[in-house]
């Protein structure tokens, strides 16, 4: 698996989620990159390629779906997973972000298996 290390970008204003993603994914040879708001997320995104991007919905400066729109303009095929912590009506919200190009929408608190399932959907290099 060496050399095929995957890069993941997590954009969330909660430090705990960055720690969690590192704790879970680094042993699985994922390289976890962190950004804490939308603007920083955009900067990180421009720096390199990511196999998958996880975006929190409610963040300072820019919401997750807004950021996703910008990312998709840069890389239309980018895999994006939206993470919601709110009380947004599920069906309506999920439909909207999927139409915008998200591969999935996870609701916090999500279970580990949901994250793994998303990662498995990354095409092998």
């Amino acid at each position: 698996m060496t050399g095929s290390e995957k890069h993941i970008l997590v954009v969330d204003d909660e430090q705990g989620f960055h720690d969690l993603f590192r704790f879970v994914l680094e042993p699985l040879r994922f390289n976890v990159h962190s950004a804490y708001d939308g603007v920083e997320g955009l900067e990180r995104f421009r720096e390199r390629n990511y196999e998958m991007v996880f975006l929190d919905v409610h963040m300072p400066k820019m919401t997750g779906p807004e950021l996703m729109k910008l990312l998709k303009e840069i890389k239309p095929l980018q895999l994006v997973v939206i993470m919601s912590s709110g009380s947004d009506s599920r069906q309506v919200f999920e439909k909207a972000v999927k139409e915008m190009g998200a591969v999935a929408c996870m609701y916090k608190p999500f279970e580990l298996d949901q994250v793994m399932k998303q990662l498995e959907s990354i095409p092998r290099a």
Partner: protein, 574 residues
Amino acid sequence: MKKTKLSDLKFEDLFRREPEAGRLFFNNRRALIFDAATMGVLRRQLLSTMGWELAMGVLSRFGYEHGSNDAEMLGRKFNWETDTDWLASGPFLHTLEGLVHVTPQKIEFDRGTGHFHMHGIWLNSYEAETHLKLFGLSAAGPVCWTLAGYASGYASSFFGKSLLAIETECVGKGDARCYFEIRPVEKWGPEALPYLSALQAVNVAERLRESESRFYDIALSSSDWIWEIDADGLYTYCSPGVTKILGYTPGELTGKKHFYDFFAPEEREQLKTSQLEIFSRKADFNLFVSRNLHKNGEMVILETKGVPILDRGGILLGYRGSVTDITERKRLEASLLQSEKLSAVGQLAAGVAHEINNPLGIILGFAQSVVRKIKEDDALALPLKTIEREAIRCKNLVQNLLVFSRASKSETLEELDLNTAMEGVLSLILAQAKARNVELVRELGSGLPKVNANQIQLQQVVLNLAHNAIDAMPKGGTLTIRTALPGRRPGYVELRVLDTGTGIPKDLQKRIFEPFFTTKEAGKGTGLGLSLAYEIIHKHGGAIELESEEGQGTEFTVYLPVHSAATLLAGGAA
């Protein structure tokens, strides 16, 4: 034909009086039913129930009618030599009331100018005499009113103009003199006012009676129940509205039942006392709310208004008022209140969901990832698994709370087969039931119309109901889940969840739909299951009802609008 002169009439010969028997004969024929005692009682009753003005009016009018009939009759019957004779004969012949000896002192009249004046002395009246004997002095007034009315009627009919007779001096003894005068109404001064206003009062009363009959028309057609009770609380009138409200016909109540007879037995004494307290103050009351027993055994909630009926002296004769059935309104209010409470909970939850979901997500994520890394027999396995399990419980709690929030209101409804949706959860329920020694009976009706529903939410409702049912049968029992077309509610499909468990005490039945109400031990129940079910069914345009007998079991019934009806109800908006 020989002309009749007044002096020709030998009254003592024509009339025979039998005072003790209260009888009067004219030409040896029983001329009229004459009973001074009865008349006296009638007069006293008039006085006590109507007050003096109305009684005076009624008695004057009564005399007036007879006087004018007599004048006509005597005019036709005899060929009087002079008008004066005809006129003077009248007051003698007070045919109904008895015999009055009148000595006319002056009679003047001119049909051309309309001038009329007569005065004289009522020497004694048979009527008044009998009265005084029976009732004493106080009876004189009412007798005089009748006589004055009689004289007025007689003279007016004779003269063709409104004339009024007034007793100018009443000695109040049958054998003494009473003076009277007859003049055109407008020729009288203030002394005529009591007579005129008494007659006026009778006219008004007559108009009142008309409006009363209009009132009865309204009472007949109203869905309210219009009632009247006497001072003992006994119904003296009930409009047909009572039949719809209490199931009894007016005849079953009037004269037979008291206002308190239908109060819910457990509240009867208290309601009766508070009602009697109002009566003792002769106060109006408005919005008196009581639970009452319908003939069919159901409880109905009634709102009553009433006003006292008082006599002139302020004595309470009874009450009258109306009753409105507010059972349905109360039910609606309660359910509105309930759903307001729930939506407040929902809004609160929506507000804090973000703050809770983030930390919870982190706790759950770490707990799960660590659990996976350690071995089953690790000393930390149990604590970590516990953290994971409890985090999931919190997660479910927050999710449940969110269902109440307006945000989740827009969850879409779809055309759904109720039975298919049930199949999905029955396997889950079966597993739970087996583990708790409960037998699961499924009775899914065939050919049910589709409902308009959100499948996940509907399944959640059934799960909650089944869960509660199983919890209520700690020693095992039978859980029945049934779908059917309800006989009572067209346009709905029903879903019933029945258990043979502990049942729910009556006083708790109102509260179980409240959020956070639970009787389960701490940590076992959130108290949200039923309020959630309630909220979901409510949003579906349905209803949820329960019937429970302590020690026997509980039956929850959920009504869901069939697809077409639901879209009609919601105006097409999902």
